[in-house]
Symmetry: C3
Subunit: 205 residues, 3 copies
Amino acid sequence: MPFSLTPKDSSFYDMFTASATNLVEATSVLGDFLHDHTRRDELARTLRDLEHKGDNATHAVFRQLNSSFVTPFDREDIYNLASDLDDVMDAIEAAADLVVLTGLGTLPAEMGQQVALLQRCAQVTADAMPRLKAMKGLSDYWIEVNSLENEADKLYRRLLSRLYSGEFDALEILKLKEVADQLEEAADAFEHVANVVETIAVKES
Amino acid sequence: MPFSLTPKDSSFYDMFTASATNLVEATSVLGDFLHDHTRRDELARTLRDLEHKGDNATHAVFRQLNSSFVTPFDREDIYNLASDLDDVMDAIEAAADLVVLTGLGTLPAEMGQQVALLQRCAQVTADAMPRLKAMKGLSDYWIEVNSLENEADKLYRRLLSRLYSGEFDALEILKLKEVADQLEEAADAFEHVANVVETIAVKES
Amino acid sequence: MPFSLTPKDSSFYDMFTASATNLVEATSVLGDFLHDHTRRDELARTLRDLEHKGDNATHAVFRQLNSSFVTPFDREDIYNLASDLDDVMDAIEAAADLVVLTGLGTLPAEMGQQVALLQRCAQVTADAMPRLKAMKGLSDYWIEVNSLENEADKLYRRLLSRLYSGEFDALEILKLKEVADQLEEAADAFEHVANVVETIAVKES
């Protein structure tokens, strides 16, 4: 593990970077989870562990916020940034858990593409977090996340179109939609993270 | 009725306490509603009345907000607190109404447990509201609500697992999910209330 | 087209008015879409074009926000107002697209009523936007939108009641709910717009 999620003397920048790096790991595990049936129980547990790690990171931010006299940007924005990063992780972990508990087997190829978009979102988010310090080069980040989220929306629509094409019965559609909706929610939550960063940047400008 | 929901000369603290006490009543009625088939129509009407009472309480806050020169905390936080308390009530009333309109009979035991968690959320929320005045002893409250909401999430997952276990057909799953989703939304809205209180406390610290 | 959505030297008031006027057009097209089966593909494309126009309007607001030293109200409120207007358009476009991709035929009459409420919401919103300048006569607007959204909620419940009445099978219910949920989301987003306007007015009062 290249970072500590409960750092001492760390700055908010380090904490957000740690949270986002945790999401890079989680989206990577989710990719393996989708493709490798035989390891699903094991990988769902790994995601549960990453989610707990993420929770600790979120609460470290909140504790730091409560004990800091001066903060680098508005307290609400710090709060929202930590919460939105947490929402991404929750949706990723839920997606995997729902695959397991509905007993789904092979998943539609579109879900693999949804996860690939989430992996890219996680990477650009993790790359952007350290740049909050100098408040430079951030617009590229939120523009890319907005564009990735647009792609994710289109993909989600295409997946719905396939679900209702007659290939699946009502029960299968219900199960697949549980999972697809969580993946879509993860993409939305990445966009919310980018929106908070944009809000912070707008205030500073 | 131990409180008035349209108080004269009352403070925001009294108003929030009244709103939350209304939720204690509503979650109690919802418990009876789930368990007693024969009284469902009557109890759904009672919930509708409580929801109207809640609406009046919410609008009393908004009116007071518009006519107050000085407010005890940020106007947006007062607004959000009133709205989030209102969201809890809306979800509770919707859950009961959806049971009636989908014609569901006996409900899975997990729903009774969901409602028990909502009853506890309502109680700790009603107990916490008067403490906003001195801004003391609030962290225990939001920590407990966060933990209750975590339990509610797990319970919701367990319920989904049961719904997809093969025991129910697609139509029954659809109906039960309508209700389960509203109960889950009520738990989320209680967490939002706690988050606003935490936000207020963070600003004051 | 009576307005330009990428105005030069324009004020925020003009931009919000343009966005809301775009929604008047979109809800009108959606009405035709629901009633005229034969033109659905064509009208769904028209809605897609209006959505792109709306996106441009939203981004024009964001660019103006980034380049403005002084803004008529809080930057976050301008941001939220633009985002919420954008959410309405997204939901309207999605509703039409979902009808096409699920291959639904004749739709329940309640959906036509949902769209009629959205048309009224769009009209009162477009009428209110220019009044942001003088900050006068706005409470009538948000009171009407809140009341329209209440009606929309009731209508949505009545539609659900019909969906579960036994008239439709699980697959049809699933498809119809996809559309109904987007229409309900559009009504909610109109209420969010009205809430932001109320927030702005509360701050100014």
